[in-house]
Subunit: 534 residues, 2 copies
């Protein structure tokens, strides 16, 4: 990057046109505040000026602790564009993990919403490495706190243009933490180039049937901003000028009101959020406003039962797949060529799979010797990938990084099959896989089948140690209507009869529970379920 | 590019999914041959194997001399992907310039269609630097030639997989020559990264109102493949799976038949091609098939009169702008935010301007001190740009390269105004500008005004030396109906009355000519017109 004609793929350069082209497009924070793109970028300049004045320098890490707000959005742009690193703190973690990740990330400054101040104050003696706290509130001009040194957000923000540097594209832009099935959270970092390329891929990837997300669709993203940059959508939306609504703390009532009042046409979320929305007791009142809503589901497989319920309200759901380590987009279940002449039923079935890789994602499904498994819809292998937006590895953890990138490919740890027509179906997390008699039982396929039984709210299948078979499957079910073991077995037998599942996959036990334990990102917590079994 | 997680932005990696996702999508060569994406990529492999076997190595330059054919398309992929450099020879040049550019580019191998063999044979003693000629014909299996050593295309193509290398993204992929207003043609080179990023920008840029080009639109591109990679569309189309029709040698009859029979919905061309099409005597027969055709016009300004005629057939035209040096896309006249509430007339007027920059293009209009001129729709300055797909400079010409990139920005040599709403209007080429009494007369604005008079076929305005004023404008007109000087002046006076042009801009002379002299890329040849004046 020395020649004058080189162009750094950094966030500043990605948005050089945005304020001019889409000057009047709105960014909303619930029904509380509203701004336009041109004013938003003025605020981004003002925030960068303010942060610079309190001491933030290139390379410093700035944490944000907030719900999904307009202030968070400003930090998404200001912090990386000034050359600092944005740490999106997982606010669903218990306080000790919040502390652990902030310490591990070497945070220097923190932007924090008033509600989160008390839990930080409780442990303020631990945070001696923080050089400045920037506090704010929705409800009052100032926030008083014993954390120090502290600054009021509104005081530091300047009304001036900030001269953002032309950063080397390999400068780290963001860090956040991801929980594995074991051990402490691991930090993943992304560079400006990673985010830049992901933005382009995302814009292209969601603009295909059946969702065809375009410029005039209003966005309401229900993937937390602390979680993989809300799947990168806050960057993609502003590149293309989409009206953007931020929901604050997630609440089904607020979400439904926003969908109605702001004419929302595109959203992204994990299945459990969609499940919550579609379980709302007053859903019927919103029926006419839900029609035409396009929803990308990721983070976990999209259960067929849930997709069918969405469809009955005129909502188009579509599966997508990625990891924290992959920024996240890898695949999306848009229609490819092979479905051109397919009937609606077939198309629907493929639209809830893992999908097909978006451009620039080189995706393979491999066996233990790193050889591709046949694309026959049956042979199970691990998904490995390469693309321009993958993390270079785990922060300060060379050993796990080495493992992640072994053989020059990023190992997802997800087990999948490739169908003849190019679609991929994930059948399990490698670590969640149930191995019975030396063979994999694809728990996601089983969960999917069970989810279609009326009365099943949520379901998760795990393996229980078994003397003879190694492991045998157990299904945990949260009921939405009173059903019994026998109903589930009758239902599964029907699936067996038509060949969708095999006889030896049928769970040995059905356990009904009152609520599904969840990870901080809203997936079924299989670690917790395993503890329950013991 | 040493770490294993780095991802080279090269063509091989851009198309890793294409053959699987869009396996059955068709590529057609007129009504002569038809293939599918999956077979096309097999042929690309076969061609690379064949070229490799006859001696083509990484870094070698391979020229192609052909009309727009499927064979050319194979070379577009095979040659750069194997690490060689594709030279797209301008077949509209006279033989001496063809020789000059092939010699200057240091071509080593040539792929050539039978029709072009005789002109090469005539000068075969000059081509001693060519190590191999690959010849083919549409009509016969073999082509005999005195050029040597020679190979039959069909003989060298293998039926095998070629192991394309993972090239460094800064490897040169293509070279072609561009004619300035003076001097010999200059060679411009583009790297894999340039083409990769341009493809992404293009896919995003054309997917906005009023054209909204999507996956299901069939493409017929009428920008020659020798000219700025057909504006990069052969790469963009295959990334997104668009059915692609290649027209061979341009012929209005064939074009209209293809639009009809292949249900063409998207095209790109220079204004003179659109003019030719809309002047076809049997155009009315195609009326129903022209409806819904979306046409991007570049290479020269889109005259309002031509856009209006297109509109009367239900064709949506839209302006775009770029140079050979910029790969080419810089701006496109899609609707931005400011036109959201505009009436149809206003929208139409902006859709034929130069447009707004596409994402990743940082575009400024500057004065002589490189300061931005005000965005007032009046202040004229030069367009300078930066983006990830600009040429690094002219091949073997450090001095002109230095001039092109002075001050760290690529100087387009185009004079323009920026309107308050962000749209740009080019008013002149710097070298074509008419300067009268120390002030610019924007010849494109004048040409546009004249083009709206019924009876004006084509028009070009140039400056004629004038003792008192320095220069005064002269208009050259090709008539489509019998009109006279007086009609033109009456027409221009009306434009003056409403303030669209100024009194002192009105040409001193009107010259009617039988046909417009054209450059090799189909623009009005103002150099020739200046000669005519003398």
């Amino acid at each position: 990057m020395s020649d004058k004609f080189d162009f750094n793929l950094n966030l500043r350069n990605l948005f050089s046109n945005t304020p001019r082209n889409f000057s009047d497009t709105e960014i909303l924070y619930k029904n509380k505040r509203k701004t336009t793109y041109s004013k938003f970028f003025q605020k981004v300049n003002g925030l960068a000026s303010g942060l610079s004045e309190i001491g933030v320098k290139q390379g410093d890490t700035v944490a944000v602790i907030d719900w999904d707000t307009d202030k968070y959005m400003e930090a998404y742009y200001a912090v990386p564009m000034m050359g600092a690193i944005l740490h999106t703190v997982n606010i669903r973690y218990p306080p000790e993990l919040i502390y652990y990740t902030m310490n591990h990330a070497e945070d220097k400054y923190v932007i924090v919403r008033d509600e989160f101040v008390p839990i930080l104050e409780k442990n303020r003696q631990l945070f001696d490495f923080i050089k400045g706290w920037v506090v704010y509130s929705d409800d009052s001009e100032t926030v008083s706190t014993s954390l120090g040194p502290n600054y009021q957000y509104n005081d530091i923000v300047k009304n001036e243009k900030y001269d953002f540097p032309d950063l080397d594209e390999n400068t780290v832009a963001t860090i956040f933490y991801t929980s594995g099935t074991t051990g402490l959270p691991k930090g993943v970092t992304f560079t400006h180039k990673n985010l830049f390329m992901h933005t382009l891929a995302l814009a292209n990837g969601i603009n295909f049937a059946p969702i065809n997300v375009g410029r005039t669709d209003n966005f309401l993203i229900l993937v937390p901003m602390f979680h993989v940059h809300s799947w990168g959508i806050p960057y993609m939306a502003l590149m293309n000028g989409n009206r953007y609504v931020l929901p604050g703390k997630y609440d089904v009532g607020t979400i439904l009101e926003l969908v109605k009042n702001e004419n929302i046409k595109f959203s992204a979320m994990v299945p459990s959020i969609l499940y919550m929305i579609l379980s709302s007791p007053n859903l019927e009142e919103y029926r006419e406003h839900l029609k035409g809503w396009k929803v990308v589901i990721g983070g976990a497989a999209l259960p067929r039962g849930l997709a069918l319920k969405a469809k009955s309200f005129g909502i188009t759901t579509i599966g997508a797949y990625g990891l924290s380590e992959t920024a996240p987009l890898l695949t999306i279940a848009i229609y490819n060529d092979a479905l051109k002449k397919a009937d609606e039923e077939t198309k629907f079935n493929y639209s809830i799979t893992t999908g097909i890789p978006v451009p620039m994602v080189n995706l393979r499904v491999i066996d233990k010797d790193m050889k591709d498994v046949p694309a026959d819809g049956k042979s199970i292998g691990e998904i490995v990938v390469h693309s321009p937006w993958l993390t270079s590895g785990y922060f300060k953890d060379p050993q796990k990084t080495e493992e992640l990138w072994r053989g020059g490919w990023l190992h997802t740890g997800d087990l999948a099959v490739i169908h003849q027509n190019g679609y991929i179906s994930i059948v399990d997390r490698e670590k969640d896989a149930v191995k019975s008699g030396g063979e994999f039982i694809p728990s996601l396929v089983l969960e999917n089948a069970i989810s279609e039984l009326k009365g099943v709210g949520e379901v998760a299948v795990i393996g229980k140690p078994h003397e003879k078979w190694g492991e045998r499957p157990v299904a945990f079910i949260v009921r939405s209507e009173p059903i019994k073991d026998g109903d589930v077995y009758d239902h599964l037998n029907k699936f067996m009869d038509v060949g969708r599942i095999q006889k030896w996959w049928i769970p040995d036990e059905i356990v009904f529970i009152d609520s599904m334990p969840k990870t901080s990102t809203g997936k079924a917590d299989k670690k917790e379920l395993r503890k329950l079994l013991k």
